[in-house]
């Protein structure tokens, strides 16, 4: 049933094309955008159900047999990521209806949004290194225009930093792919895994290549010390776009890291994965410390993206089944909680007119519901029970204790406390304290806008609670996916058939 593998790429593609064909008809674009978002989410769920039932799915595009053609392949990890992309796509598609101005809509906001989603799901589904590069470029181009769209001064400044560093990363990625090809003669991920594990490539050389990929993907993912572009650019575009970027783009970088460091480069785990763990610790700490110094909500949250990336990397560095389960559960949790926080801050801006904590205040008294919508994902992000973040962090910490990596466990716990501190800071400043300069009244949300803005946030906030109270299905799913990641032979078999 290869159609299920294709739909997560084809549906956003068609949505983008159709919205482009109705370039001047704003209303039609908005409707197609929502229909496309729903269809994408449903297609992603269909894929996950299929992979859950029948195991890893693969299709050879154009019927060129692997490893010569391009393979699309979905294991549980890929399918879960595609579902998250579908969820984020739908949520942001709806939120955009209430928050994106007409000027941006007139300049192709919706086609770009869906092109970006197509790039993201393509990156999750491809089983070919060069094809992964192509999907990264699709994402980069779409995200670059989305970031610059509107043409405000700070937007252009942010976009310039963003695109420069990302082009550098792409160039490095491409170079690494070239060297990898010259060494192994293949770019099919399953074939690469097979060749490197069977010792056809010198282990030292493989480690060098692994480090090159680490830097290339590390820039995309926002790892220490390569993250500086992220807080310099993520606060500039409209908040719907920031939420989408924070939910998906850095996570694609992490996905690529997890993929190559579980499937391909596992020849020298002592060295590579220990290094990953050290970077994870530094990423967590620098991210959270950077956040402490900020008073602009979007910048503050941007720094938290970085520190959360550290947790994901920590699980990858520990490299046990429990740890990888933690990575997957954490990934699901952080995508939901982080985007919810960004989207709430967008509503705060709409209501109170600012992103600056110094100018905000008193929202709890007038908008208790909004305060609750911030409170739930904020506590989830800090990792308090009974929210989704608690289980994610608990799994990672347990994995750390089992492998006796006490240092990284200690770091992760301290960072959690600091995260809680940051969230409390936003809470106290924006919602609790009295409003400085009482003269301006809060803007009420108008009714059509209300649904478009609040609906997605309510869904995300509810998910952080649901995934916290009923965490077991997610953890089961994560365990199964982690088992697949640790046993590459299943993946190789699905793509190449019987090779060994």
């Amino acid at each position: 049933m290869s159609i299920f593998l294709l739909l997560p790429v084809l549906v956003p593609f068609l949505t983008a094309v159709v919205t482009m064909l109705f370039w001047h008809e704003r209303l039609i674009q908005r409707r197609v955008n929502v229909v496309g978002g729903i269809a994408f989410f449903v297609a992603a769920l269909g894929l996950l159900a299929l992979v859950w039932r029948d195991g890893i799915q693969a299709t050879q595009i154009g019927n060129w047999p692997a490893p010569f053609g391009i393979t699309l392949v979905a294991d549980l990890f890929s399918a879960i990521m595609v579902v998250m992309a579908g969820l984020m796509g739908l949520v942001v598609a709806v939120y955009s209806l209430g928050s994106i101005d007409e000027r941006r809509e007139a300049f192709g906001y919706y086609p770009l949004l869906h092109t970006l989603l197509m790039g993201v799901s393509g990156a999750f589904l491809t089983g070919d290194m060069f094809n992964l590069y192509v999907w990264f470029e699709v994402m980069l181009i779409a995200s670059f225009v989305l970031m610059a769209l509107g043409g405000q001064r700070d937007q252009l400044e942010g976009a310039l930093k963003y695109v420069t560093i990302n082009l550098l990363s792409s160039a490095l990625f491409l170079t690494s792919v070239g060297i990898l090809y010259s060494v192994t003669g293949t770019l099919n991920m399953a074939d690469l895994a097979h060749q490197i594990s069977s010792g056809a490539v010198d282990s030292g050389l493989a480690t060098v290549l692994a480090m090159m990929f680490l830097v290339a993907f590390g820039i995309k993912a926002g790892l220490f010390p390569l993250f500086f572009w992220l807080p310099a650019s993520y606060h500039t575009p409209p908040i719907a776009i920031t939420a989408l970027f924070s939910g998906l783009l850095t996570k694609v970088g992490v996905y690529a890291l997890v993929r190559v460091f579980t499937l391909i480069f596992v020849q020298d785990v002592d060295y590579t994965h220990t290094l990953l763990m050290v970077i994870a610790g530094l990423t967590m700490v620098t991210g959270v410390l950077g956040a402490v110094a900020q008073t602009e909500v979007r910048r503050l949250l941007s720094f938290h993206i970085i520190s959360q990336i550290g947790y994901l990397l920590m699980g990858l560095g520990l490299f046990t089944e429990l740890a990888l389960t933690g990575v997957i559960v954490f990934m699901v949790h952080v995508i939901i909680a982080k985007s919810a926080l960004f989207l709430v801050s967008g509503i705060v801006r709409q209501v109170a007119g600012s992103y600056d904590l110094k100018q905000l205040g008193g929202l709890y008294r007038t908008n208790a519901g909004l305060a609750a919508l911030f409170f739930l994902p904020a506590l989830a992000l800090a990792g308090l029970p009974p929210f989704s973040g608690f289980w994610a962090k608990l799994t990672l910490v347990r994995a750390g204790l089992e492998t006796e990596e006490y240092a990284i466990v200690a770091v992760s716990l301290v960072v959690s406390v600091l995260t809680l501190f940051s969230m409390t800071k936003i809470w106290a400043e924006a919602f609790w304290k009295d409003r400085p300069g009482q003269d301006e009244a809060f803007q009420p949300l108008l009714s059509p806008q209300r649904i478009a803005l609040l609906g997605p946030v309510i869904v995300l906030a509810a998910l952080t609670v649901i995934l916290g109270l009923g965490a077991e299905p997610l953890i089961d799913l994560g365990t199964e996916a982690a088992a697949q990641l640790l046993n590459p032979s299943e993946y190789i078999q699905a793509v190449l058939g019987d090779v060994a």
Partner: protein, 139 residues
């Protein structure tokens, strides 16, 4: 630019260039050519017309907006990939008709894909070129 020489030459070159672009498109499967090059040649024909007669006249000659060409081209290319799936093959698997048609050669989904590329390239090139010439006309 107001030049009688250019205008007169354009009137003769335009059909020739368009014919040549179709020729390049059709021979492209096994020999140099293809949708991309063909599309560029066709775009130059309209670009030449836009320089000689103005963008408004060129748009009128094109009958449709370049942006619509991009969208239709993308749909055509994607549909060429879907056709093979009706026979249970993976996406983008080529289907060929076995009969040989004079001039065109064999018909098949790769040709459809190339036509999609052809339209997309015309659309993209003309979107850019028209915008640039219009900016100059306004200045």
């Amino acid at each position: 630019m107001d030049s009688v020489v250019l205008r007169t030459a354009t009137r003769y070159l335009l059909p020739l260039l368009l014919l040549f672009s179709v020729f390049a498109l059709l021979r492209g499967h096994n020999e140099p050519g293809g949708g991309f090059v063909g599309g560029l040649v066709a775009a130059t024909a309209f670009a030449l017309y836009a320089v000689g007669y103005g963008v408004a006249a060129a748009r009128q000659l094109l009958q449709t907006s370049p942006r619509r060409l991009i969208g239709i081209g993308l749909l055509v290319a994607a549909s060429s990939g879907l056709i093979g799936m009706a026979w249970g093959d993976p996406f983008l698997t080529a289907r060929w008709d076995t009969r040989e048609i004079p001039v065109v050669g064999k018909l098949g989904t790769p040709l459809l894909f190339d036509i999609g590329v052809y339209l997309v390239v015309i659309g993209v090139a003309l979107t850019i070129i028209f915008a640039l010439i219009e900016a100059e006309e306004e200045a």
